[in-house]
Amino acid sequence: MQDKPIIELRDVIKRFGSVQALNGINATIREGEFFSLLGPSGCGKTTLLRMIAGFEDPTDGAIVIDGKSMQGIPANRRPTNMVFQSYAIFPHLSVAENVAYGLKKKKLSKAEIAAEVDKALSMVDLAGYGRRAAHELSGGQRQRVALARALVMRPKVVLLDEPLSALDKKLREQMQVELRQLQQSIGITFILVTHDQEEALIMSDRIAVMFEGNIAQIDTPEGLYRRPVSKRVASFIGVMNFLDATATGQDGTGLSLDIPALGKVTVPSSHVPEGMAAASVQSIGVRPEMLTILFDGKDRAESETTGKITGTSYYGDMTYYTVALNGVGAPVTVSMRNTAGRSVLPVGSPVRVGWGAESIVLFE
């Protein structure tokens, strides 16, 4: 992956009548990366994608693709191709005719078109399906045809509008991996719109989390999960336990906190977000897998506290416990891997809960 920008969004604003759909979006998408726009429905992610494609015009601001402003350039002259949520496979054309649709404009010979179509179809594992009619395809196959139809145009950017939402869980998980592998092998920039945080984490190089027409955070999947900038981002990506905390001091080593549910701790400076003042810390977050139930008396952790199990959810590989810590505040969620010889603890058991200073995320 290079760091060369392929798409630049500069103060992009979109209003529909009196409704402000996007409030000044700024983002740079790099060439060859898999970039996701993640957010709940109505956050403006699809509108943003459609503006990049050229189906909507920004009310204000600029969209630059490959160094050229897209102002006034319609969808049919942009170096982008879209995979629609409904796939939009032309029902009156065969698979090969669908894939060849955009090539007709490119002044290629019949043989060249046929070769390009074959190449695109084998790229998406549909070699030999060219003569099938559109209605003979399964959901997963339609999705592949839509992708082949976009890739055959050799676009600078492929835009995907919730392409996996219509597939069942198994197929969706399989396609997530396949899409990611395909994108890495051909090196074209992909922009994915999704409301599924897990999907975004699995597939993306970077993710932009959007709420109500604003980008809340742009980061790598790991950065987003480990260092969410707000409580809202933290609770949108995975599960996060929030606990009240008061800062008691800050020095060169770190930021000292008093967390009633856990105890006193000093968060090392490397884990304190830049520019965050001690006085502004209101609460902390800790992921369920960063808390550990210390089973027998021998298990040790950096710090520990006590509590009582108030509920269990068994997932096969994992068990999620809700634990009331020291009787303070709402119970927290603790996830434990179900290793050999470790059975699920009954509700009501008193437990020791281990935790570490480095797993604590600070929120203002």
Partner: protein, 277 residues
């Protein structure tokens, strides 16, 4: 429920169904019956089989002229109505604009207006404008009553068309006109053919408006009506009616076949897409 009770109810239902079908179709069946009857008097018992009345039709110059007039009117009406209907159906399916529902309801109104009122109103209007009556005035009147049918048929075709199909075409580098030619038109074509056939059929049989608005060039129904005054002509009118009946049925079946094919192409359940049959 006891089986006996069940079967009794079933038999009453059968009698009702048969009676209903007889009521609907018995008068129509009389047409071909008397068309092939050798007597000039339209009454039972039938006297013998003949195709004489069809031969009489073939040698009738005035009839030939009225058939020609009717074809001109019906073809023009079908094309005009379908063109206007396609524009309205597309607009109502694709765009949201103020007064949309009222406007569509207004266009559909001639469907329920008494035809005689429409005919009289049109006649008065034409007289006021000082226009002379001709086949063109009939075409105008027929287009007025056919457009609602055309909109009803084409609306189902345009509503079934996924908007993202046109966007996909545009996204793949095609122009607006190219998108219409390569995606939109092929997908609504069965609906267009269905609309053409139905408008053609409606115009071909239409009497009241044609009677009021036609000048010296009579259309086929007007010609038939004028011939009813002569009892000797009745059997050949029966023969003519038989031909028209067969033609109408064939055209309507064709129209429905095209409409269902259109729905199937777009992956919509045919019965859900609305229709006349």
């Amino acid at each position: 429920m006891r089986p006996g009770h069940n079967s009794k109810r079933f038999s009453w239902l059968t009698i009702y169904a048969v009676g209903y079908m007889l009521f609907l179709y018995a008068p129509v069946i009389l047409l071909p019956l008397f068309a092939f009857n050798s007597s000039t008097i339209i009454a039972f018992p039938l006297s013998g089989f003949t195709t004489e009345w069809f031969t009489v039709l073939l040698n009738n110059a005035a009839l030939g002229e009225s058939v020609e007039n009717s074809l001109i009117v019906a073809v023009s009406t079908a094309i005009l109505s379908t063109l206007l209907g396609a524009c309205a159906a597309r607009a109502s399916a694709r765009y949201r604009f103020p007064g949309q529902r009222g406007m569509i309801a207004f266009i559909m109104l001639p469907l329920v207006l008494p035809e005689i009122i429409v005919a009289v109103a049109l006649l008065v209007l034409l007289m006021q404008l000082g226009l002379s009556l001709s086949l063109w005035t009939v075409i105008g009147g027929h287009t007025l009553i056919c457009v609602p049918y055309s909109i009803a048929i084409l609306s189902s075709a345009f509503h079934g068309l996924d908007r993202s199909l046109e966007e996909a075409s545009f996204d793949l580098g095609e122009t607006s006109w190219g998108t219409f030619k390569r995606v939109t038109f092929p997908l609504v074509l069965p609906g267009v053919i269905s609309s053409l056939l139905i408008c053609f059929t409606i115009s071909l049989d239409e009497f009241i408006i044609a009677f009021f608005l036609t000048g010296t060039d009579a259309t086929l129904p007007v010609y038939i009506w004028s011939q009813l005054r002569f009892p000797t002509k009745l059997p050949s009118i029966m023969a003519l009616g038989t031909i028209l009946l067969a033609l109408s049925v064939i055209l309507l079946i064709l129209a429905e076949w095209f409409r269902q094919r259109s729905a199937k192409r777009q992956g919509v359940e045919a019965s859900a897409a609305g229709g006349f049959l």
